[in-house]
Amino acid sequence: MGMFGREQLAMMVRPDRVHRALYSDPAIFELEMQRLFGRAWLVVGHESQIPAAGDFLTTRMGRDPVIVTRHADGTVKVMINRCSHRGSTVCEDARGHCAEFVCPYHGWTYRTDGSLRFVPLAHGYGRDVERKKSELGLVNVPRVESYRGFLFASLAADGPTLSDFLGPLSSSFDDMVDRAPDGEVEVAGGVFKHAYHGNWKLVLENHLDGLHPNYVHASSVQAARDAPDPAQPERYADIAIRQMRQNGAPEAIWESIGIWTTDFGHGYMADYHSDSRLVVGMDNPVFAGYRERLEHKIGKERAAKVLSVTRWNSIVYPNCSFMGQFRQLRIVHPLAVDRTIVYTYSFRLKGAPEQMYRDTIAFANVVNGTASWVLTDDLEVYERVQKGLTAQAGDWVYLARGYGGDADDAGRTRRGATGTSELPIRSQFAAWLRYMTAE
């Protein structure tokens, strides 16, 4: 790793451009796993996935396999999925319930907080094995916290609190959860797991990129425009048709919407939809029943306030992208400098009419499905970018759109000059450099 000292890294991140090696050099990727994914708070799941003691899920933090459990005392534990004996994973199920984890290799048995309960033929490991047992549990990830049901963990023992880390971006989680009449959301509806041959940053950059839909998604915009107009009674296909058409919103719309960033590389963009069937805050009669329930639970005034938030994607740098409007959350798993997996989860608004959930499923299928008209074109472009950035000619990737026009905004945010400003990417790289050069 000697190649990339802190000075070199600093030279590769300029205010309006970055070096292509940040997307394509395996040595940089290794450093990112240690310094960025090894330090930042990462989204690892949601409380609703592990409601009862003994419930667990498995995921990754960076490349590291981890188990997230609900321990007997009700607390959430995150442990490295690696037996302390000779290293086998102790659990391979995506989700489940168990009293303990038994390593398949030689039977070492761990409690749901990772502590080592039982070692078969223990005496064979030496006389002091009983004493050592307390040190031979599964390695616990040092920091675990939750914000409004969303579970975060950090591989670093020290660092900013989750509350400092999220800062103003926590309002996007509030937006998602406040929409539930019962004040809670739950994971439901299956997990899309899509992969692409490209760097993990590409997907986070794309989700706040209002310039791309008219180009990347031109074919699905046109095919949806050619389809029959949505009519009454509503058909299942209408959500897809409406959403794909909206991606072709005029450039003036994309330019006019707000886009904000916060410390630590997070950011969010305002909604670009003008179709009232896709925006609860507009007065489409489809949402009347839902509005009523929300008003009944939290009062008319508060409900109006909740629904007045029209926010599209939010990014929690470096591993999550989510949105309250259609209750989607994506976790980014970097596998290699040029290989990334994205898990997409849907959420049910507790206490909302069934129609709201059906909208969520229909929306997930059209936008986040592995065979979606929309997503497949994004993936194609990520792979083309990755291919282009391996070329030795041309060192720089330009991120200058809107540069010079970024301005401080209310609540410790910065706002882009226009909705298509590349401010979010500049902000992600500013955070990247801080993680990568911190001692």
Partner: protein, 167 residues
């Protein structure tokens, strides 16, 4: 996938007719004759590739594809756009349909099970998919047509690269 419901032996003629329709469907996809392929489906047809093994319905769980005729038309249409990035060039496929069996009939519709092995090639990458498939075939004035198709991929729950072709 339901078990075989009819204990009687389906007539050779019915089996052969169903088989020919499935083979023709596969051939049209491989030939990329998508308009003709779409014509094999009834107006109220559904085309379903569930996300989860044993998935009960397309309403409460997402699907890799769950299309009605309108959405299928959009899929077919998307290929014709000059900036259909993931579809230019279109993936080349080889659909191998086997183990065709009449699973039963409920009045006007025939339930036909088959297995699919699909080889896909695009841009220096080749992938293999396997699936068990169930068709519901309906007799119409225009001939036997597909009223529903369900494709259960063996790896539907896997981490998958984008899918820009039809099963």
């Amino acid at each position: 996938m339901g078990a075989i419901e009819s204990t009687g032996v389906a007539s050779d003629a019915a089996l052969r007719e169903a088989e020919q329709l499935l083979f023709r469907e596969a051939w049209l996809l491989d030939q990329h004759r998508l308009d003709e392929w779409l014509d094999l489906f009834t107006e109220d047809a559904t085309y379903w590739v569930p996300l989860e093994r044993g998935q009960l319905d397309p309403w409460n769980t997402s699907s890799i594809i769950f299309d009605d005729r309108t959405l299928l038309q959009i899929r077919v249409r998307q290929y014709t756009h000059p900036r259909a990035h993931a579809r230019l060039p279109a993936a080349r496929t080889c659909h191998q349909v086997g183990n065709v069996m009449i699973l039963g009939s409920d009045g006007s519709e025939l339930r036909v099970g088959s297995s699919l092995v699909l080889v896909e090639y695009r841009k220096e990458r080749q992938r293999v998919f396997g699936a068990s498939v169930e068709h519901r075939l309906r007799r119409t004035p225009a001939g036997l047509r597909v009223a529903a198709k369900r494709v259960d991929l063996v790896n539907s729950e896997a981490e998958l690269d984008g899918i820009a072709f039809l099963f």
